[in-house]
Amino acid sequence: MEETLEKPDKPVSQKKPKMTFESKGRTVYYQLQDKIFKYFALAATSLGLIVLVLLLYSVFSSGFDRLDWDFITSLPSKRAAKAGIYTAWTGTLWIMFLTTIIAFPIGVSAGIYLEEYSSRSRMSNLIEINIANLAGVPSIIYGLLGLEVFARFLNLGASVLTGSLTLALLILPIIIVSTREAIKTVPYTLREASFALGASKWQTIWNQVLPASVPGIITGVILAISRAIGETAPLIVIGALTYVPFAPTSPMDEFTVMPIQIFNWVSRPQKAFAENAAAAIIVLLSITFVMNAIAVYLRHRSQKKVKW
């Protein structure tokens, strides 16, 4: 015989509850504390957003009208109305391209080495600390290094190549660190499974570890490059020009980049140049936003796709 629970026909009439669990004494204080912190955090978040919105508004309001196809395809000029950013954005593209192909393989390889091959020794600890320190070195110091080593010692001059090498050095630590972080998220059981099938270390890294960490690595690289395209100081130090009448056609050409062009225009007294600067800022911001959006998209996709 199975026993079944008897269900009451009607809900049992509810008693009038006693109030035992309402806030009193210290709990009132804790509740208040909770609320205060919540609004404080909200204010902090809003402050950042408001500043960004104000910045965007002021830039767009003074630069948007100036922005047209001619502005993008024109060479720089002494007359503000005729001046364009053609040399600046081609320079920026050159720098982005060369910096990426220099920094990407070196940074990723170094990250793989540190995470997968190097043993825990004093030497590797020293390298690790130094990489973390390098990530915090002011960018102008990299500029001085680039000037001395690439421009003068290697005699590359104030070329696109010098600029790219310098910026590559600047973002290497960021790429190395993000590569390591991405590789760290790959579970050990995956490597074990691969090794147990007789795969070599390199086969395991190439076939399992890297595909699983590629989104993380790419995200890091893109963020690093968006940082590089905003850099001005190191490029000024190595001798990038503020006025270049031609677009670079080879890595050995002289060049200018968007931030330098903006800096140049902002420092002029005429209002028309300020408008040019604002318009150029819109273009530069757009490039950075698009790159960040790609990074966010990749990260989001990787979170959805890979589940362990």
Binding site: A196, G198, Q203
Partner: protein
């Protein structure tokens, strides 16, 4: 004898976890390793495909012979060894790839490029692992779409595809539900005809159901090693008796 271990000692740093194990295992048998957690049974299992080499502080002494050749000899290619000594892990660990690619992986890293051969081999391996009927229509789907028990059989298929002669199983059913466990146990029974199998298990019923011989480990020592039936019905050592009757461990 398929496998002969002679005075195998393993230590992690200064801590000795195996204190001289000597045992031999016949071809085409199932051997169960039992014992409380931390007794060294998994460590011993991982000596046979040298997985312990991946742990930096781990040091293995003594001799292990498989098919009469010393697997710790300096001229041994560790990857070749692992191709003939397959392993299945406690938690199913399929690659984040399709079902087909999971099984094909072992062939591809061996440099096999013949598409037809790979397809045949993958089908053969999945059939061996008694999974074919369940996955034959979705080979292109992600391995993560399978249930835990199916994933574990996929991992077995993946190991079988490279044609090992020995299969090491480290608590292969401990993360699975009872029905999946039964399937894995039936599979072990059927695979015995072609493979020499060693299984580490915490489940003593599982040991009695699947194995021909059982080895009881305790604190890094091999306490007793005998026919499974004898060990469970008539153990010679008091410690074994205590463990199998559930008095400790």
């Amino acid at each position: 004898m398929k496998i002969e271990a002679n005075n195998v000692r393993v230590s992690y740093g200064s801590e000795q976890v195996l204190k001289g194990i000597t045992m031999s295992i016949k071809k085409n048998t199932v051997t169960a390793f039992i014992g409380p957690s931390g007794c060294g049974k998994s460590t011993f299992l991982r000596c046979f495909n040298r997985m312990n080499d991946l742990i930096e502080s781990c040091k293995v002494d003594g001799q292990i012979m498989i098919d009469e050749s010393d697997i710790y000899h300096s001229k041994v290619n560790i990857n070749e060894l692992r191709k003939s000594v397959g392993m299945v892990f406690q938690k199913p660990n399929p690659f984040p790839k399709s079902i087909f690619e999971n099984v094909a992986y072992g062939l591809r890293i061996n440099g096999v490029t013949n598409k037809k051969y790979i397809e045949e081999k993958v089908e053969w391996a999945i059939k061996q692992a008694a999974l074919w009927e369940e996955v034959k229509d979705k080979l292109k789907k992600s391995a993560f779409a399978l249930s835990g028990g199916q994933q574990q059989r996929l991992c077995i298929a993946r190991a079988l595809a490279v044609e090992p002669s020995i299969l090491l199983m480290d608590e292969p059913a401990s993360a699975l539900d009872p029905i999946s466990t039964t399937k894995i146990e039936e599979l072990i029974y059927n695979l015995k005809a072609s493979y020499t199998i060693i299984i580490v298990t915490h489940n003593m019923q599982q040991a009695t159901r699947t194995s021909d011989k059982t080895a009881f480990f305790y604190m890094g020592d091999l306490i007793e090693y005998d026919d499974t039936r004898t060990l469970f019905t008539n153990p010679k050592k008091q410690k074994t008796q205590n463990y199998i009757t559930g008095r400790f461990g």
